[in-house]
């Protein structure tokens, strides 16, 4: 199996966010909100860090 860097980020963020959402909140609606928040933070943080590394290199 081969996977792109971005694909790995998406999969990692998705599964981790599901577990975080379920385990860190009590109310089902808040679980979904917190899971979505974690997902955005994971993916957004990775993209931001990637641009920072690109800027450092250039």
């Amino acid at each position: 199996m081969t996977i792109s860097h971005f694909g790995a980020v998406i999969l990692f963020s998705l599964f981790t966010s599901v577990v975080f959402g379920i385990t860190q909140r009590s109310d089902p609606r808040m679980m979904i909100r917190f899971g979505a928040f974690c997902f955005v933070l994971f993916v957004g943080g990775t993209i931001a860090a990637s641009w920072v590394m690109w800027l450092i290199k250039h």
Binding site: I3, A8, L11, F15, T16, I22, S26, D27
Partner: protein
């Protein structure tokens, strides 16, 4: 009679959270399923099983008990969190003994994080069983 009934109920209720914790660790999502949290248990099981399987498919490394590098010991502890999945991987010799391609490092991390997430979900199931977590 009433004393015996209440004593047995107390014994059952005190051992149940421990059983939930151990079941949740051995089989991902089992702790929540024992508490009749069907959707949560299924989502947790699918997520952790998928992460572990993707890690193996990416030729990730399965750590064995070791006394070498500190990071190797910590990674082994993370792998151990997968419970029965780790045991099966060791029995059927799945995973790589050493990382050989660049993407295999992702696979290794997927397997370790799957184990850590499984521990979090097992502790969450234990908190639900004891009543520390509301619902």
């Amino acid at each position: 009679m009433a004393t015996n009934v209440s004593a047995s109920t107390r014994a059952q209720s005190s051992s149940f959270p421990t059983m939930v914790l151990i079941a949740g660790w051995l089989v991902p999502g089992a702790g929540h399923l024992m508490l009749r949290k069907w959707i949560r248990g299924t989502l947790l099981a699918v997520s952790i099983f998928a992460m572990f399987t993707i890690g193996l498919a990416l030729k990730g490394k399965i750590y064995t008990p070791n006394t070498g590098d500190l990071l190797d010991i910590l990674n082994f502890a993370g792998d151990l969190g997968n419970g029965i999945l780790y045991v099966l991987a060791r029995i059927f010799d799945l995973g790589q003994a050493a990382v050989q391609v660049a993407t295999a490092d992702y696979g290794t991390k997927f397997i370790v994080v799957a184990g850590l997430l499984n521990i979090i979900s097992a502790v969450d199931a234990h908190s639900l069983a004891t009543g520390r977590k509301r619902s």
